[in-house]
Every structure is written in structure tokens, then in C-alpha cells.
């Protein structure tokens, strides 16, 4: 271990360069992951905040929630059998505020349950972001498809859908606005997946994928994240490979005097862990700082949990990269090294 650190001290600049690249890569990864998570919340907080359970859509809807219609009789039966369940619908739309300014929202209505905000006829509950846009409790809102008007009775946190704030309204108001009697979706919380004939079931994640743009958005961001992680592993592999090539003579002589190959591997591992740990600590600190100062409208949400998971992944990938480059050490014959001249 001492040797590992002595070498790093003696070749500071090389290790510093590697460290800063690892720092940049991991920092970028954290930021993108924060963005992915932020966008995902912005796109689907309404669903992501739900407990785990199963969603049911009409088979004919082909996994498109906005085409789904749940038969009213069937809905009644299911809700009677599963009192904790709920039926709900989502439609994108607009309302005009007291100053006649238009705001786009996702209208959500549901049967009475603890899972969604329940509002009475003529009332509306909005996501907190609308409060920042100037809407206040007590304001009267209108909608061109709705004969009456909505009175704002409160705000809720983190209820977004398809990058729009959610507006909870009563089922009868919803039925009038969108001219449908049926709900789109049934949700049954819990682990069990009761099969219901005529309906397809989806897990939370499966249902998120039915949201247009959600999976495309997440997939591309996740791909970037994994590319960055793999790049960091390759950086370690290449870096240590080049360092090792320069040190073939040294490794040979150390083997000649009887050092175990595993000790040489340990040396690389210590260096890899030290570099990664320092780089990660700086990235974590900076990304958490960024979390605090991220611009208001920027969908950015980076939890410590995500950061620690990614850090663990970085360590594992770095370990693999360093170890792969270490295989050449195994092959070094002490004799060749001795016959090479001075190092």
C-alpha cells in the first residue's frame, strides 16, 4: 500500500491528470443523472409518487392510456372487490386564470381514494408550480369546454404529468369537458396482480413506459450515463495499461526478488481506489452544490441515493478496468526484465 502511494506522490502529474478526467466524467454523469431524474419527475411525478401496484388498461387500447376506456360495470366490480383501488383519467388541457391568461395542465380525475387528491364538483387543486405563476387559492378558473368554473382550493407538491402541472378536478366536471363517461385506468396497489378479463396489467414502470416521450427521454439519458460509466472504466484500463508498460522492468525485478503477483495487483487497486474515491468525493460535493443552485425552471433532482449508487458503479467499473490492464503483469517474466538494462 505504501508503495502505491509513494508512486502516486512521485508521479503526481500523471495521476492528477487521470484523477481530473475521472472527476469530470463522474461529475458529468451525476449532472446528467440529476437531469434524467428531474425530467422523469417533471414528466411523471404523478405516477412515480404512487405506491407500487398495478395499472390496468383496456385491451383494445394497445397500451395507450388515452385510448383506454374501462367499462363502468367492470370498474364498479373491481372497486367493490378491492376497496383500496382507484380508477382515474388524465387528459392534457388548458385553463384560463382570473386575468384570462392561459395555463397548460394535465387534468386528472379519480374515484374517491387516498391515492389521488379528491376534489368536489366545481373545485380544483393544482400543482405548486402554478402558484409561482401567480394563481392563488380562491381564484376562479375557466375552461372553454366547461360550462361552469373552477375555484382553486389548494396546491399540492410534485404533481406533474407529461411536463405539465397536474390539475385535480371532479369526475363529473371531467366527464363534461371530455365527453366520456368511462375512466381510462384502474390502479390496484399491492403486490398481487389480479387478472381482470378484458384488461391488460402494467407495473409502475410498465405504465410509465406507456406515457409518450417518457421512455424515449429516459432511454437516451440513461444511455449517456452508461456510456460515461464505461468510458471511465476504459480510462482506468488504458491508463494503467500505459503505466504498466512503462514499468514492465520494475515489475520483473520485483517478481525476481520474490514479490507476489497479487501484491502488484493490490498496488494498482489501491491507486485506482484512491483516485476514484478522491474524484468522486469532489464530484459528489459539487453535484450536491449544483443541486442547490440549479436554476429555478431546470428539472434537476439528484438524490444522495442515486449518487452513492453511481459511485459504487464507478468503483466497480474502475476496478474491472484496472484489473484487466493488470493481466499483462501476470505474464511478465522476471528474467526478461533483468536482461533489459537500467530503468
Amino acid at each position: 500500500m505504501k508503495m502505491a502511494f509513494k508512486e502516486m506522490k512521485k508521479s503526481k502529474s500523471k495521476f492528477l491528470i487521470l484523477g481530473s478526467i475521472i472527476f469530470l466524467v463522474s461529475f458529468l454523469t451525476f449532472i446528467i443523472s440529476g437531469l434524467a431524474n428531474g425530467l422523469s419527475m417533471d414528466n411523471a411525478a404523478l405516477i412515480k409518487n404512487m405506491p407500487s401496484g398495478h395499472y390496468y388498461l383496456n385491451e383494445d387500447a394497445n397500451a395507450k392510456y388515452n385510448l383506454s376506456k374501462i367499462d363502468e360495470g367492470l370498474q364498479k366490480d373491481v372497486l367493490a372487490e378491492h376497496p383500496e383501488a382507484t380508477a382515474f383519467s388524465i387528459q392534457m388541457g388548458f385553463f384560463n386564470d382570473a386575468e384570462d391568461k392561459q395555463h397548460s395542465v394535465a387534468f386528472v380525475t379519480s374515484t374517491e381514494s387516498d391515492l389521488f387528491q379528491y376534489v368536489k364538483d366545481g373545485e380544483i387543486v393544482l400543482d405548486r408550480t402554478l402558484e409561482k405563476e401567480g394563481v392563488k387559492v380562491g381564484d376562479i378558473l375557466t375552461n372553454n369546454q366547461f360550462s361552469g368554473d373552477f375555484k382553486v382550493i389548494g396546491f399540492v407538491d410534485e404533481q406533474k404529468y407529461s411536463h405539465a402541472p397536474v390539475a385535480f378536478i371532479n369526475q363529473t366536471n371531467y366527464q363534461e369537458m371530455y365527453r366520456v363517461m368511462e375512466m381510462q385506468t384502474l390502479f390496484i396497489p399491492g403486490k398481487d396482480v389480479p387478472a381482470i378479463s378484458g384488461l391488460d396489467s402494467f407495473t409502475n414502470k410498465g405504465f410509465l413506459d406507456t406515457i409518450p416521450s417518457y421512455s424515449a427521454e429516459q432511454m437516451s439519458l440513461n444511455m449517456i450515463i452508461w456510456f460515461l460509466v464505461i468510458i471511465s472504466g476504459m480510462l482506468f484500463a488504458i491508463f494503467f495499461y500505459m503505466m504498466n508498460v512503462q514499468k514492465i522492468g520494475l515489475y520483473g525485478i520485483l517478481k525476481a526478488i520474490g514479490m507476489k503477483t497479487i501484491s502488484l495487483f493490490q498496488m494498482i487497486w489501491y491507486q485506482m481506489i484512491a483516485i476514484t474515491a478522491v474524484s468522486l468525493v469532489i464530484s459528489i460535493a459539487l453535484s450536491q452544490a449544483f443541486n442547490l443552485v440549479a436554476p429555478e425552471g431546470m428539472p434537476f433532482s439528484l438524490t444522495m441515493n442515486t449518487v452513492l449508487t453511481l459511485s459504487a458503479v464507478f468503483l466497480v467499473v474502475g476496478f474491472i478496468g484496472a484489473t484487466i490492464s493488470g493481466f499483462q503483469i501476470k505474464k511478465i517474466e522476471p528474467l526478461q526484465a533483468i536482461q533489459q538494462g537500467e530503468m
Binding site: K10, L250, S263, L335, I338
Partner: protein
């Protein structure tokens, strides 16, 4: 005492289609407290027999008995253990670790040899050996700042710090000027006597021969 016996050792290298027989049955017995010098023309197989004896490459045939054990029959791991705790090495180049100080080179060797010393004992032993080779004043220096002779003395210190039984030296003075050669050779001589080492040394230099207890000449892969 005869602790190291080389018996009928042969070595062949495959050079494409042809097999080159480099060692054609070498017999040699090393005696404790003695320097055995191996001389002979270039290419006669001196380095080959030394590295085979030291367990750095395999013999094609024959036996190498060290303390009664046949090294040619040992596993790689056991040979490594013997090398680390019973053998010391000095080569033409000092082969020091560039990023360790003189003191740390020796510390590393003690760790590799797994000597049962605590840190304080290690430090005392290192200081004692460095005084012995006259390098005590440079114990915090890094190899690049040492002269050729100084490096070689550190290499010798590293070769004996763990109290090996056998010292293998392949042209240890070849890279030095006349004055330093003598110093290094005197040092090897002194240490062999005072520590009771069994030393096998390859040399090209007739001036070094007076320091040897025995001079063995090799020609074309045999001892003559």
C-alpha cells in the same frame, strides 16, 4: 558446508526448427562463506546457469539441490518463496525502484521476504545494513540522484537485508569504473565472509578474481 549443489543441469532453447543446447550438463557445488566466480567467454552460458540456479528459469534437465530439496521439482509458488527469503540478487544494473528512497527499498525487501520483525527492528536493521554498505548518509535519497556505485551498493544492501543464504551476482561490477568496482567487490567479499553467505558471481573482469575463493571457467555450456 555444501548447501547448494548443481547436478548435471542442461538447458536447450528452441530456435525455430533447431534446438540450441546451451548447457550441456553443468555440475557445480557452492560452499558456504565462499565466493565462487564464474568466468568464460561471452555466450558460454554463465548467466543461464546462474538464473537457473536462482530459480528464475527452468532447467531442461538435471537437479538443483538447495538444503537437500530439489528446486527443479518445486512449484512456482515455492520457488518464489525460496527466492524471496533465501536468495539475494545483484545484477549489472541495480534495478532499484525509482519512486522509493534507499531506506524504503530495503523496507520493501523485508516485507517481500516476510521477515518476522516489527517496525522498530526493521528500522534498526536497515540502518545497520546501510552503515555496512556505507550508504547510511543517503538513506532518504531516491535512486535517480545516486551515482552508479552508490546504486550498486544499495542493490547489494537490498540483496542481503533479509539474511539470505545464497547471493547471486551477475556481473555486479560491470557498469562501474575501476575505483567503484574495487569498492563494490570488496563489499561483496566482506559480506560473504562476515554473514557466511554462499555467493555465486559471474564476472568478465580478471581484476575481480583475487576476491574469489574459487574460479570456475565455462566454455560452450560446460565447466572446464
Amino acid at each position: 558446508m555444501e548447501t547448494f549443489i548443481i547436478e548435471d543441469v542442461t538447458k536447450s532453447f528452441q530456435n525455430g526448427e533447431v534446438e540450441a543446447k546451451i548447457l550441456k550438463g553443468v555440475n557445480l557445488t557452492l560452499t558456504e562463506g565462499e565466493i565462487t566466480a564464474l568466468v568464460g567467454p561471452s555466450g558460454s552460458g554463465k548467466s543461464t546457469i546462474l538464473t537457473i540456479a536462482a530459480g528464475l528459469q527452468k532447467a531442461s534437465g538435471g537437479q538443483i539441490l538447495f538444503d537437500g530439496d530439489d528446486m527443479t521439482a518445486m512449484s512456482q509458488e515455492n520457488i518464489r518463496k525460496v527466492r524471496s527469503s533465501e536468495f539475494g540478487f545483484v545484477f549489472q544494473s541495480s534495478h532499484l525502484v525509482p519512486f522509493l528512497t534507499v531506506e524504503e527499498q530495503l523496507d520493501l525487501m523485508l516485507d517481500v521476504a516476510e521477515t518476522k520483525m516489527d517496525k522498530k527492528q526493521q528500522k534498526e536493521e536497515i540502518s545497520r545494513i546501510l552503515k555496512l554498505v556505507g550508504m547510511d548518509h543517503r538513506k532518504d535519497a531516491y535512486p535517480p540522484s545516486l551515482s552508479g556505485g552508490e546504486k550498486q551498493r544499495v542493490a547489494i544492501a537490498r540483496a542481503i537485508i533479509h539474511k539470505p543464504k545464497i547471493l547471486f551476482a551477475d556481473e555486479p561490477t560491470a557498469s562501474l569504473d575501476t575505483k567503484r568496482k574495487k569498492e563494490v567487490m570488496e563489499l561483496i567479499h566482506e559480506l560473504t565472509k562476515s554473514l557466511g553467505l554462499t555467493t555465486l558471481m559471474v564476472t568478465h573482469d580478471d581484476e575481480m578474481l583475487p576476491y574469489a575463493d574459487r574460479v570456475i571457467t565455462m566454455r560452450d555450456g560446460v565447466i572446464v
